[in-house]
């Protein structure tokens, strides 16, 4: 398969109290359309990735809401898959083109989180979990803390190695003006930040964020004004048990391994071919597990490699999370999966300025929902 990314854009992520979801959506989608060289009349459908609009904002029916706001009255849909909503919206948009229904569509990932109290957001996010987890008073950070503890026990992974993930991602975000955090942090700062759910600390965690990201994609046969698109060559989704307790192995996500295997096969590439990847580092341990599940490093080996700088811009390959990742670029949950594609498309076009990964030809995005119940992998080529 080959789907052209004609335009890609993201708003700044952060605590955007003065901007409504409507404003954010407009900014992201109109900039993506403008970059594509097309007009709004060329957009035949809109796929909206969002998780929390109903729970936090009391607003559903997002398809027509954003179609109305954008003034593009075409078929429009909300796609929900917890923190993988953005990636899942892209997957469905791609399928709609491959199925021959539409030629050119827009994918919008959007979330508005900072209007609400932290405990409301924590409870809202737990809608992606299982009954037993809500009953226990679990939060997402606590579920990943259970995985972190198991990873430490199995492979000797240390809190210091986990902290190194956050340090690296803050460095990358310092080169990204649209990131939520532009400041460097030290290992000591991460290690001494308040504990949220042991062994994970505040600075192991991605923040609560607002933001929107959009892409305009089209069939490969489309001959628009764009001369040099980036191509999506694989889009793969897999699921696993909703409850973390039902997984045989806490140190790896089966949904990611399955989706990655199918994506590599479809794209005809292997993990060692990947130059740059945006992975779902909702917590530092998640990036370590992602790098192992995606085959970049062997099981139990990623923490040391990351701590040694193997995935840092200008130091190694593949470069992981040049945008700053969820940790430092921010994590408006519905937007994240789309932002990852925006970042990889920007990298493969060679338009990432200071944070450009040199000679990047093949990129990957890894978007996860729940504690690993759903995973979406995209592979892109220049």
């Amino acid at each position: 398969m080959k789907i052209a990314v004609l335009g890609a854009s993201t708003t700044k992520f952060g605590e955007l109290w003065d901007q409504s979801p409507r404003v954010l959506a407009k900014k992201a989608v109109f900039e993506a359309i403008s970059k594509s060289g097309l007009g709004t009349r060329d957009i035949e459908a809109i796929f909206v990735g969002n998780m929390l609009s109903g729970i936090l904002g009391g607003q559903e029916n997002l398809g027509p809401l954003f179609a109305d706001e954008l003034g593009i009255f075409c078929p429009a849909f909300k796609i929900e898959g917890a923190c993988a909503s953005g990636g899942l919206a892209a997957h469905n948009a791609i399928n709609s083109i491959l199925g021959g229904q539409y030629k050119t569509v827009a994918v919008l990932g959007i979330e508005k989180m900072t209007d609400h109290k932290p405990e409301e957001v924590a409870s809202g996010l737990m809608a992606a979990g299982a009954d037993e987890e809500r009953e226990a008073g679990a939060t997402f950070v606590s579920l990943y803390a259970l995985m972190a503890r198991a990873h430490m026990e199995a492979y000797g992974t240390t809190e210091r190695e986990m902290a190194a993930v956050s340090v690296k991602n803050h460095f990358h975000a310092s080169l990204n003006e649209r990131a939520q955090f532009n400041k460097l942090v030290s290992l000591e700062q991460v290690l001494s930040s308040p504990k949220i759910a042991d062994p994970l600390k505040l600075m192991d965690c991605s923040p609560v964020s607002d933001g929107a990201s959009a892409i305009v994609i089209s069939h490969d046969r489309f001959t628009g004004k764009v001369i040099d698109p980036v191509w999506i060559v694989a889009s793969s989704v897999a699921t696993d048990t909703l409850a973390l307790s039902q997984r045989e192995d806490l140190t790896s996500l089966r949904a990611v391994r399955l989706a990655a295997e199918n994506a590599y096969k479809a794209a005809g590439v292997s993990p060692s071919d990947v130059d740059v990847a945006e992975v779902h580092d909702c917590f530092s341990i998640a990036e370590i597990i992602a790098c192992e599940d995606l085959g970049f490093f062997g099981r139990g080996k990623a923490a040391r490699e990351i701590a040694n700088g193997k995935t840092k811009l200008g130091k190694g390959r593949p470069v992981i999370n040049p945008s700053g990742g969820l940790k430092a670029c921010g994590h408006p949950v519905g937007a994240t999966g789309v932002k990852q594609i925006v970042e990889i498309a920007t990298q493969l076009r060679g338009e990432a300025d200071e944070r450009q990964v040199k000679k990047a030809k093949i990129g990957l995005t890894h978007n996860v929902g729940g504690s690993g119940a759903i995973a979406v992998i995209h592979i892109l080529r220049s």
């Binding site: 409870s123 008073g137 995985m147 949220i196 759910a197 409850a243």
Partner: protein
């Protein structure tokens, strides 16, 4: 509000856990709780493998620091789980106590 009907349905399932023993596979100590658990933090949650092979996540109660370890033996007990809202029924469920 948690539907009373849902609470009633749930009770039929959780009775099968009463008194079951097992071991902690992984644990964490929650310091920043979600709604409904604000007064209880910090509290540990544990992933337990029961002797009948079932696995479940629940809170650990009556704990000391030395109980927070992988391999700790625990027993399932029946306790109030979260703060009910003003009109809801009081939800009960499984928690674990160290052995």
């Amino acid at each position: 509000m948690i539907s009373p009907v849902k609470v009633w349905r749930h009770q039929k399932e959780i009775a099968s856990y009463f008194g079951k023993e097992g071991k902690i596979i992984s644990w964490t100590l929650i310091r920043v709780p979600p709604e409904g658990f604000i007064n209880e933090a910090p509290y540990p949650i544990v992933l337990v493998k029961l002797s009948d092979k079932r696995r479940i996540i629940a809170q650990l109660i009556d704990w000391q620091k030395e109980n927070l370890r992988i391999g700790q033996k625990v027993k399932a007990v029946y306790r109030r789980t979260r703060q009910p809202d003003s009109e809801g029924v009081i939800p009960y469920g499984i928690k674990f106590t160290p052995l």
